[in-house]
């Protein structure tokens, strides 16, 4: 398990309209093995932060540490599980082939904890091993993407609104399964969403990011036991997060 530390991170982009400051001296610590959810208005830099943690984007200043390692070292060790908004499956590979791709690339440092067969079963893809992505629904495609993310046995899951494009029912089902999988693997999760109910349902801690440059406006520790099914309670938390987003105190 790795803790994530974001230390004095600045991020600016040069655009034709001038310098755009996304982060200025951003500091954040995510405890090892916790499920942290970042919420914030669109365009505030949630995805940018995730890219910086993954080492896909080098911050203008400051640094990120994953345990004792840099994001680049963690990436080289295959400790980072990345899941974006789309499934990004390769259309010429079967379900099984797409999952296996995660194990065919950069194999030296690979220590997978589960076989592909087990993963397929865990993510509810049994019977679809030989199907091609275009034959699957959006929800099934995201299941494949999830299995692929977990295949190398990552210690950190970086998830960028993975189920945003799915219908409510499918999303609900997948959130349940993600929670179950996380409880089994106990990775450190950094999850980006704009859905406050999703945040209230999943998070050990919700981090509210807002403003320009983006600052941490509030943090909520949610101690409720899992799986959380009390809609009223989830709604209360979502309401509190909404207030913090709107500018009130956390």
């Amino acid at each position: 398990m790795l803790e994530i530390r974001i230390l004095h991170v600045d991020q600016t982009f040069s655009t034709p309209q001038g310098r755009w400051v996304v982060f200025e001296d951003l500091n954040l610590e995510i405890p090892p093995g916790s499920f942290s959810v970042i919420v914030g208005p669109s365009g505030c830099g949630k995805s940018t932060l995730l890219r910086i943690v993954a080492g896909l984007l080098r911050p203008t200043a400051g640094q990120v540490r994953l345990g004792a390692f840099s994001p680049e070292e963690a990436r080289a060790a295959r400790w980072i599980g990345w899941m974006g908004q789309g499934p990004a499956l390769l259309p010429w590979r079967t379900v099984e082939g797409n999952i296996r791709l995660a194990l065919e690339v950069n194999r030296r440092s690979l220590r997978p904890t589960l076989s592909i067969g087990e993963l397929i079963e865990l993510t509810g893809l049994s019977g679809f091993e030989r199907a091609y992505p275009h034959m699957l629904s959006g929800g099934m495609q995201q299941r494949v993407a999830l299995a692929r993310t977990l295949a190398p046995g990552p210690r950190v899951w970086l998830m960028d609104e993975p189920f945003a494009a799915l219908d409510a029912l499918t999303r609900e089902q997948l959130l349940e399964e993600v929670e179950r999988l996380w409880q089994r693997f106990r990775a450190t999760v950094l999850w980006v969403t704009h859905d406050l109910h999703e945040a209230a349902r999943l998070a050990d801690e919700v981090i509210v990011l807002a403003g320009r440059p983006a600052r941490i406006r509030a943090r909520f520790s949610i101690p409720d036991p899992r799986p959380r099914q009390d809609e009223r309670r989830i709604g209360e938390w979502a309401q509190r997060i909404r207030q913090a987003l709107a500018g009130g105190a956390g």
Partner: protein
Amino acid sequence: MSSRVLLQASARLIIRTARPARGWLRIALPFALPAALLAWELTVRILRVPVYLVPPPSRIFAVLWSERALYLQAATVTLGEAIAGLALGMGIALGLAVAATFYPPLERAVMPLVLLLKAIPLVAIAPILTLWFGFGLIPKVLMTALLTFYPALVSWMTGLQAVDPAALELMRAWNASDWEILRHLRWPSARPYTFTALKTAIPLAFIGAVVAEWTGASGGLGRAMWLAQTNLDMPRLFAAAFLLAAMSLTGYGLAAWGERRVAWWRL
């Protein structure tokens, strides 16, 4: 609900949507060429057009049949040159396109040169190549390579860049090497573009070989055409042209078939 049933249903749906051309068109298409030939035959006969201007198709086919050994040999020569030149041109194009994905500034460095080469007219290059390399195989192969290289390069450069950005990001998150990204992502994405390139390059390959033969050769369809033209022997000229067109069309058909097979998921 069994998954197998679902799979079969979706496969059936895919096959159905993949079917091209509407009903009547599918029936009419095979008759288009014979109809055109028939119209040609009748026009020439009714208007009594002299054979040394436009020969009737029946005459052309008669020549093709009576001198089939000769034409077969000439076609084999031209086909060999076209294939060798195509392989060379496309090979160089692939090498350059791959190199440019590893080292993007290369594209900006190479493209002006490539465009310059392409801007020189074919008829200007052909005699020079013959002058330099003689009447043998080399000038024909070079000529064909020069012509086919450009469409192949453009197709592959496009294909190797046209990858899903999300998949590329994922590969980076796995710390995949450039080579692994090429092998698992860029090349499979570019594969259909190979056939797009072939569809353009195959007809060009035959033109390249024939033009080179025209400026000096001991065999081939270009040579046959040149001989027929100097003798004002239109049936023989058209016979060679027909054969050339048939080979070109066959090649194009093969490339189109290959494209459908390789990029089946796009259907």
